[in-house]
Symmetry: C2
Subunit: 273 residues, 2 copies
């Protein structure tokens, strides 16, 4: 058929070049959570790859309206914007109109993962160098996640090949509880640098840690350190905190969600009430 | 509207995650060029990201049939395969059927670029670490190309930030003619390593170089070396050899396509006759 008769998304630059950015947010009990920081990050992502012509305020209104219409108590809201649609040409076609796409779906039940904890496996971080931008350029994440799945794990924990330092999970932030300078445990996670996504959930976890009196150290750790941590967990928008009970086959603590991890989970619930 | 009523490509993993691979080939004067090596590379790309269920022989037949039906003498054939379609979930949904998409379009006229040469500009190589796979994960390429465009250049030449060594163009291979060990010039280009696409056109250029008695050195060069080369050119499927006459504003040679570059262009024409 002629190109011009193709249904629109076939010629989307999101498909041809991963030339777009996205957000995922969720609701708790009928209320959207952390809409503002998600919209702010979306705005930053658009600016970072210079997609113009998206009215972020209008997107915000659409999210609120569509969510209200959905009637879903525990929903996942996904949306992306791409640079637009045209016959495939890496060089920009002038005058392209960005395209926008949103879905609202019921969140999958993850109570088992949260109650019992999950297993994770390390994988070299093959991603591009601008992972602070929440873009559609996610093939390296997919390949790492597939590798973890093959090993019976729920998530891949990425580490850079040069130094062996953990950056983050394929679709999550990564946290460890380790002995610190003082008597108790400290919460370790990677600092926010160019290859780390500024996770919205991470912000709330650091706040929760502060609330329960935990010292936070933003300093990357190796897989070997992670495997010997007292407690581990990952965090992402859709499931907030998920305890990790095995790292590359090594049992963490007594193989059940850690005490401080559970305390942070309870503390996190305060924010979403 | 309900997810299940969405037109198919909206839920494609190619769009959500750049989870697919592609090929571009062309015809010269009514004949497809280098179909076999393109099909072989497509097969390798599919294997590299473990997309199963695409019959490459069937794709080959579709390309031949669709090209014959198109009746276009100088055509660009683009096709991609993705892991399939489902509601967005980075973890693989079992039983997905890969999706396939192809377009055949008239090649744009590039005689001016080939006759007069083009300007290029260097850009840090922000791509992922597996660029030997011809995947849809191309946002870094797009951003580099856009930067070059803003500088009035036709192509971005990528260099790794650690060592400043040129890898390749955003959608091309990169070649320089430089003084060698002996009397004449040698042809320099990057060796094929993990972050370089095994360009089909490159193979033909190395053969053409051999035919005209040029020594080829597969050894990366810096932007400073490139700016002081006797001759430069880029190569890609759609336009084969395109002379480069400016590198980051510095005139190459006398600012016109180099003598050896033109000789290689003539030699290349022998392959496509």
């Amino acid at each position: 058929m002629p190109l011009e008769d193709l249904p629109e998304p076939y010629l989307d630059r999101g498909m041809f070049f991963a030339d777009g950015v996205y957000e995922v947010l969720r609701s708790y009990e009928g209320k959207l959570f952390a809409l503002d920081p998600h919209m702010q990050r979306f705005s930053q992502s658009l600016a970072a790859i210079d997609i113009q012509g998206i009215d972020v305020e209008e997107v915000r209104r659409r999210v609120i309206d569509a969510y209200a219409q959905s009637g879903i108590a525990e929903a996942k809201v996904y949306f992306h914007a791409t640079r637009g649609r045209s016959a495939r040409n890496m060089t920009d076609t002038p005058g392209l109109k960005p395209s926008f796409f949103m879905t609202i779906t019921e969140l999958e039940d993850c109570s088992q993962e949260k109650d019992q904890g999950i297993s994770v496996w390390g994988h070299p971080d093959w991603r591009w160098k601008k992972c602070h931008i929440k873009s559609l350029n996610l093939l390296a994440n997919v390949l790492a996640r597939r590798d973890a799945q093959r090993r019976g794990c729920s998530e891949a924990i990425l580490f850079n090949e040069e130094e062996g330092l953990i950056t983050e999970g394929s679709a999550s932030s990564f946290f460890a509880l380790l002995p610190g300078a003082g008597a108790g445990l400290t919460l370790r996670t990677s600092p926010l640098v160019a290859n780390i996504l500024p996770s919205v959930t991470r912000t709330y976890i650091l706040r929760a840690a502060n609330n329960v009196g935990l010292t936070v150290v933003e300093n990357s750790l190796t897989c070997a350190e992670a495997a010997h941590a007292q407690e581990l967990f990952i965090a992402m928008t859709t499931q907030d905190i998920v305890p990790v009970v095995r790292f590359e086959g090594t049992r963490i603590g007594d193989g059940r969600p850690g005490r401080l991890t559970q305390q942070l989970m309870r503390e996190f619930r305060q924010f979403v009430g």
